[in-house]
Amino acid sequence: MSTLLRVENIDAFYGDFQAVQHASFDVEEYKIVSVIGTNGAGKTTLMKVIGGTLGARSGKVWFEDTDITGWPPHKIVDLGISQVPEGGMVFGRMSVKDNLIMGSYTPKARKGAKAALERVYELFPMLKEKADQASGSLSGGQRQMVAIGRALMSNPRLIFFDEISLGLAPTVIKDIYARIKQLNSEGITIILVEQDVKRSLRTCETAYVMLKGKVVLSGKSSDLTEEAVGKAYFGM
């Protein structure tokens, strides 16, 4: 198994506040990896560093053999890293279709945009039905599907999902997790950033638990007991 993404000793700050301390983790290709932790544990901050929207004060991020630390977001997307950010962050005033097209913005992705759009419509027929509606008018679950579809439009090799289940009905969450597994089986490496310990442990192969900006526990999900994760999660 080759390592697709390697995060080494990342320190990240908001002003003087250190949100991430010496965080390290590896993501193997074709796997599902969970990053678990409470609100404010630094998960989203770490994802921002990987995605390039926040600079790290020290540490390195590697994508295969390329050092991508400090790269601007548009170059990182072009490499094949795409994300479904917290809350979806769809373009509310734009139509569903335009949202999806924005997902294929990078020069590399534009060439495959047509095929990618067909594939996304196949995966989420609902998006085809509502193609011309403003995405701001959709329900929370539908907006997440727009966000997932949009992330797929660049034919990424790695997608991270940030708090995908936040504020959604359980049946919708179940459906979305089934889609995530399906995407993974089609060869896309996945990082799940979650507060929901049970569900993410059930889905992933490897898990990292973060607390107050540090990675406090890691291992194969089959080796981690819920109790151990629970303790690390709350810092007991």
């Binding site: 072009d78 962050m89 373009f91 335009d98 097209i101 924005m102 913005y105």
Partner: protein
């Protein structure tokens, strides 16, 4: 009665020009979230650029657009890339101060190179008009200006809807962080948006230079018109700008017709003031 019809025609036509004056400012408001205090001065800069290049085009201000419009794009892009982009994350004041600085610098450069004398872009077109009846006439230059305003706005609408860059500009205006996650380089996007805004200012400026006298410090007059059009139409709404321009133009000319020409500007700004009280988000804002 005929005088009133004449005033209404003139108001609508002037409104199309006002829309062209305001649409670029509205874009920058909505997309880059900057109040470009130099927008009026850029219009006047375009007047002087046209004046300067008219020698090379057989003294035809319309032909000078071939150079003025691309040049204005370049100026807008360069200023955004070299200055405004540097202060994007530092709050609202620094960009505001920079545009205020542009305003002062442009005015003084124009004063230095062209003196404070009144200028006008001469074209025989100004004197032509189409007679509808014996007393009602459509001045051809007003008609051209209005059509130019409409064409600019329609082209902008098509560009924003159908091109990757246009979509990226809208996406950036919606949520610039999410746009970055899509691979949009928002600094380039802002540069292009400012460039396009300056292109519209270039066209509007040349039309204004043909219709009215201009001086190095005429910019503030047009800045206020642009402001009014943006406020009435609603920030970020390109088509609203067109309607707003026509409302503002009508208010000025028809109001002036009713109360006397000296009240023309006052009435325009009263409409603006009423708008700010009654519907501060603009008529067409979603």
């Amino acid at each position: 009665m005929d005088a009133m019809i004449q005033a209404i025609i003139q108001g609508i036509l002037l409104g199309g020009l006002f829309a062209a004056v305001g649409v670029g400012m509205n874009m920058i408001f909505g997309i880059v979230k900057i109040t470009n205090l130099a927008h009026g001065d850029f219009l006047i800069l375009a007047c002087y650029l046209s004046l300067f290049f008219m020698g090379s085009f057989g003294a035809n201000p319309f032909l000078s657009l071939i150079i003025v419009v691309p040049l204005m794009f370049f100026i807008g892009f360069a200023l955004q890339a070299t200055m405004l982009n540097k202060v994007l994350n530092r709050g609202d004041e620094p960009p505001l101060l920079i545009t205020f600085g542009f305003s002062i610098i442009i005015q003084n450069l124009l004063l230095y190179f062209f003196t404070a004398n009144a200028q006008k872009l001469q074209t025989p077109m100004l004197l032509k008009s189409i007679s509808i009846t014996d007393t009602i006439r459509i001045p051809v230059m007003y008609l051209i200006s209005c059509l130019a305003g409409i064409v600019i706005i329609l082209l902008l609408g098509v560009y924003m809807k159908n091109t990757y860059m246009g979509k990226a500009i809208r996406a950036t205006s919606d949520d610039n962080e999410a746009a970055q996650l899509m691979g949009v380089n928002i600094k380039t996007t802002y540069g292009v948006a400012m460039g396009i805004s300056m292109m519209t200012a270039g066209v509007a400026g040349v039309l204004i230079g043909i219709l009215f006298n201009f001086y190095p410090n005429s910019g503030s007059t047009y800045l206020i018109i642009a402001f009014a059009v943006v406020v009435i139409g609603g920030i970020g709404n390109i088509y609203g700008t067109l309607a707003a321009g026509i409302i503002f133009g009508l208010a000025q000319v028809v109001g002036g017709q009713l109360l006397g020409a000296s009240y023309q500007q006052l009435i325009g700004y009263l409409v603006l003031l009423i708008m700010l009280i009654v519907r501060p988000q603009g008529l067409f804002s979603k």
